[in-house]
């Protein structure tokens, strides 16, 4: 609300993810690859292995071209992107960690200078001096990772910083060490993967292939242990996300594990066992696996932080937690600095609010498009559900606006799809009921699933008994929106719920019991799934 919102066709968070994943991919290689180079060079010189030394020389040119240009510039790209998409959060991070970044910059400066000198002086520097430069590079690169790791982990686990606001508490937060070990392990894996790109064609091929595989194996063994350690240190609600409560997270976990295992399998088969099989297509597949591994990891790291970008300080939509109450009281039109219109009755205002409040993670259409999520919503229902938006799955920030704002945004969300025209018959009643359930209830409930299951409430009830509850939903529980669907949809929905709640349970289904207890946290954070998910 403080800054203008950069209106993009894709969610702003996706833009950050795109830049960040590519940067992290190369920058971790810059750390591990530097270590790989200097250790390999040292080994080659000691063994007087000319082929291996020649490999190091060629690899260092590739290394410099990739890390100095793409790696370094994409790092600046993250700075640019987060400043454009989340200026409030960036400003907070800068005010907390400017000296950490300044220190990181010193290491970055040394790293760049060392990389240039290392790549350029194979013929001119004595062996000992060249190795010294290589070691300086690695130490500077790893220290750069050390510092940045503190800032990144702070965003999910600020720890005691919340009370003390002390730099040291923020920097050396609960996940600092496990994350550092995990990132170092990843950098080893990437060192091995990228090591294959300049694999010699003839002499030394087998030695290099096995050597690179060894690096991958070492990283691959340390990584799961460090991730387990990391998992133990993250907040409980983040653990629940990772435990498979959300479909996207489940896919990312499976994807990350699969890519890593596939990479390890390739390293064993084509790196250790049959190095002659390590041909360009296989290397390309390895690179894809590495990118997939990083992509999944970064996606999960970002996702488990939701709804926050800085835990308990700033929400994912760049809204300060401290501002929410004021916005709910005064309304956005009286608070935001940059609005396209302040006419709260206009359609443009609703669209503007959508970009302001939702645009960081959602677009109207396409990837993370809201049109699919609000299909079947009318303006009244949309405006009502916005009050409870933080209740959905615990990943959404609270809605920050007054009633006029909610109505305006509700109208906009309802306008994303044409109104439903359903012809309900006995033949399609169940199917339509399922569709209505997905639109009206499925964002917060399942019938027989493990997320706020309704079976316990509706088991042994007929469709008409289920339907009787609909009109009083809002008064039964203040966290529920009012039910306002047309009668035919209500009938179909009641039929579906009754049918599903009375269907025999499969063995894997969760116990059919309504979660108990209140769902609001004392920390004024959105409802924690921990309290609700069985």
């Amino acid at each position: 609300m403080n800054y203008p919102h950069w209106q993009l066709a894709i969610p702003g968070g996706m833009l950050i993810a795109l830049v960040a994943v590519l940067h992290v991919f190369v920058s971790h290689f810059a750390v591990g690859g530097g270590f790989f180079l200097v250790v390999t060079e040292s080994f080659a010189r000691r063994k007087k292995d000319a082929a291996l030394l020649d490999y190091c020389r060629r690899h260092s040119t590739f290394f410099a071209l990739l890390t100095l240009v793409f790696g370094a510039i994409s790092g600046v790209g993250i700075w640019f992107t987060i400043g454009l998409v989340s200026p409030e959060a960036t400003s907070s991070l800068i005010h907390t960690f400017v000296w950490a970044w300044a220190i990181e910059w010193v290491f970055f400066f040394v790293e760049i200078a060392a990389a240039i000198i290392y790549a350029k002086t194979w013929d001119s520097l004595p062996a000992r001096d060249h190795l010294i430069v290589g070691w300086i590079y690695f130490v500077a690169a790893w220290m750069s990772l050390f510092v940045i790791n503190g800032i990144l982990t702070f965003m999910l686990t600020p720890g005691r910083w919340i009370e003390t606001q002390s730099f040291w508490d923020g920097m050396f937060n609960p996940t600092f060490l496990p994350s550092l070990v995990a990132r170092t392990a990843v950098s080893f894996i990437l060192a091995g993967i990228f090591g294959y790109i300049t694999l010699p064609r003839h002499e030394g091929r087998e030695r290099v292939a096995r050597w690179a595989a060894l690096w991958m194996m070492v990283g691959g063994m340390v990584l799961p242990l460090s991730l387990w350690w990391y998992f133990e240190r993250i907040p409980k609600f983040s653990q629940l996300y990772l435990n498979g409560v959300l479909t996207g997270v489940r896919h990312a976990v499976r994807g990350g594990v699969s890519f890593t295992l596939l990479a390890m399998a390739i390293a064993l088969v084509c790196g250790v066992w049959k190095p002659r099989w390590m041909r360009p297509p296989v290397v390309a597949l390895l690179v894809v696996c590495g990118l997939g591994m990083i992509g999944a990891g970064e996606y999960l790291r970002e996702f488990v932080r939701k709804p926050w970008v800085i835990d308990q300080v700033i929400y994912a939509n760049d809204l300060r937690a401290a501002q929410v109450e004021s916005l709910q009281a005064k309304g956005v039109s009286h608070t935001a600095n940059f609005l396209l219109t302040t006419d709260t009755a206009s359609a443009a205002y609703g669209e503007n609010l959508f970009h302001l409040q939702c645009g960081s993670c959602h677009a109207a259409h396409g990837y993370r498009g809201m049109n699919r999520r609000v299909d079947g919503w009318d303006a009244e229902f949309a405006a009502d559900i916005l009050q409870h938006i933080h209740m959905l799955r615990g990943t959404m920030p609270p809605y920050a606006g007054n009633e006029d704002d909610r109505k305006a945004l509700g109208r906009y969300l309802a306008s994303l799809n044409p109104p439903w025209k359903l012809n309900i018959t006995d033949a399609n009643r169940l199917e339509v009921g399922e569709k209505v359930f997905a639109a009206r209830c499925g964002h917060c409930h399942t019938v027989n699933g493990n997320f706020r299951p309704l079976r316990g409430t509706f088991e042994k009830q007929s469709a008409s008994q289920v339907q009787e509850i609909f009109p009083v939903l809002g008064s039964i529980n203040s966290d529920m929106p009012n039910f306002n669907a047309p009668d035919d949809q209500a009938q179909a929905l009641a039929f579906y719920i009754s049918h599903e709640a009375n269907a025999p349970l499969s063995q894997k289904a969760a116990p059919a019991e309504m979660p108990t207890g209140t769902t609001r946290s004392q920390l004024a954070r959105p409802a924690l799934p921990r309290q609700e998910v069985r």
């Binding site: 403080n2 800054y3 203008p4 919102h5 950069w6 209106q7 993009l8 830049v19 071209l65 100095l68 240009v69 793409f70 370094a72 510039i73 994409s74 600046v76 790209g77 700075w79 640019f80 992107t81 400043g83 454009l84 200026p87 960036t90 400003s91 907070s92 800068i94 005010h95 400017v98 000296w99 950490a100 970044w101 300044a102 220190i103 910059w105 010193v106 290491f107 970055f108 400066f109 040394v110 760049i112 200078a113 240039i116 000198i117 002086t121 001119s124 520097l125 004595p126 001096d129 430069v133 300086i136 500077a140 606001q165 730099f167 300060r320 401290a322 600095n337 940059f338 396209l340 970009h355």
Partner: protein, 375 residues
């Protein structure tokens, strides 16, 4: 009180005193501009000499283009590296202005990243192929130089826009997708010309300094570089006066007047004028002298001093623009003393480490030269 839509400053206090951030900003920005001038000015010099050197009657041009080709990627590397530090410190002091203007030109601002990559890889390509003197090396270098000129234009847009909050809301409402430029600002064009021309000028002074070093190996070639660069340095410095005057006339009258009335700004301005005249005279006289060394080196030093003074002047100009909206002295400060000390310690250590690596390189080069000279 202003009613413009200026974002509030961050509720967290500044983690260090304003004077320290200001000093660091001025120092690293000066170094960044020196590196940027080397990349842009050096690129233009390399392109001109590469094209000229394709004809056999200009062997020195070909040689100079080749030598510059090897340096350009490093110049750009340090432009970026030093620019990161400047970006860091300017965000601390003026974040609410910089983030806003960046978002307003977001699409173009973000395009800087791929553009820098294109220029950077272009420089690398040129460095690997310039030796042959044929093919598309010249075209690639020309693209890199054009891209750098484009990046400079985007930067000038952002830097002028961040100090013009009165334009923001209208601009945002026109194009909330970030496809804006600050073309309505009268100071945009002279400021851009001042920066681009300044880059050529300063790199010419740097080149004169490099020419002196070449004279030790090849007197004729070295003198050729010194004379050429001195001439360009003098010509561009003359043009700088014109662009500077244009810039002064283009900025709003009350800001120009407040600048001229301010004793500190007046002193910096006067010193900058004197130092640039002094630098031009020293380099020109040096290029004509029998032993140009001391004069050219002094001229190079004074031109760096001029650059620092111009950076200070630019900072004072920003303060004058933002005077109605910002008071740096009123910002809450809670210094993180322990970390500041560690940073300063590491900063010195980092410089020493880079110095040590350069010393290793110089030592081995000297050893090679000694080995090549017959006893």
């Amino acid at each position: 009180m202003q009613t413009l839509p200026i974002p509030h400053v961050d509720p967290l206090p500044l983690p260090g005193p304003v004077w320290l951030f200001t000093a660091l900003l001025l120092v690293v920005f000066t170094l960044h501009v020196a590196a940027m001038n080397s990349a842009l000015g050096g690129g233009i010099w390399a392109l001109w000499n590469y094209l000229r050197g394709r004809h056999s009657e200009h062997p020195f041009s070909r040689r100079l283009a080749r030598e510059l080709a090897a340096m350009l990627p490093s110049f750009l590397a340090f432009t970026v590296t030093l620019g990161v530090a400047a970006l860091l410190f300017v965000q601390v002091l003026f974040g609410n202005f910089l983030y806003t203007s960046s978002i307003l030109i977001g699409a173009l601002w973000l395009s800087v990243i791929p553009l820098v990559m294109v220029a950077y890889y272009g420089f690398y390509y040129f460095s690997y192929t310039a030796e042959k003197g044929k093919g598309i090396a010249g075209c690639v270098l020309a693209i890199s130089v054009c891209v750098l000129l484009g990046i400079a234009f985007i930067f000038v847009n952002n830097m002028t826009l961040m100090q013009s909050p009165e334009r923001w809301l209208q601009m945002y409402r026109a194009h909330p997708n970030g496809w804006n430029l600050n073309l309505g600002d009268h100071s945009l064009v002279p400021r851009y010309l001042h920066i681009v021309n300044g880059a050529i000028a300063l790199f010419s002074a740097i080149l004169a300094h490099l020419g002196m070093r070449r004279m030790k190996v090849d007197a004729e070639y070295g003198r050729w570089i010194v004379q050429r660069s001195a001439m360009v340095f003098a010509a561009c410095s003359g043009l700088q006066f014109l662009f500077g005057m244009w810039l002064l006339l283009a900025i709003p009258r009350q800001i120009a007047m407040s600048l001229l009335r301010d004793p500190l700004t007046g002193a910096v301005f006067g010193l900058a004028l004197m130092s640039v005249v002094c630098a031009v005279l020293l380099v020109l006289l040096g290029s004509l002298a029998e032993k140009p060394g001391p004069l050219v080196h002094a001229g190079f030093g004074v031109s760096l001093l001029t650059l620092f003074l111009m950076v200070c002047l630019r900072y004072l100009l920003r303060l004058a623009y933002l005077k109605p909206y910002v008071s740096l002295g009123a910002l809450a400060v809670r210094p993180q003393l322990g970390v500041i000390v560690i940073f300063l310690f590491l900063f010195v250590g980092g410089l020493a480490t880079v110095g040590y690596m350069l010393w290793l390189v110089a030592r081995s080069r000297n050893a090679r030269v000694r080995a090549e000279v017959p006893n």
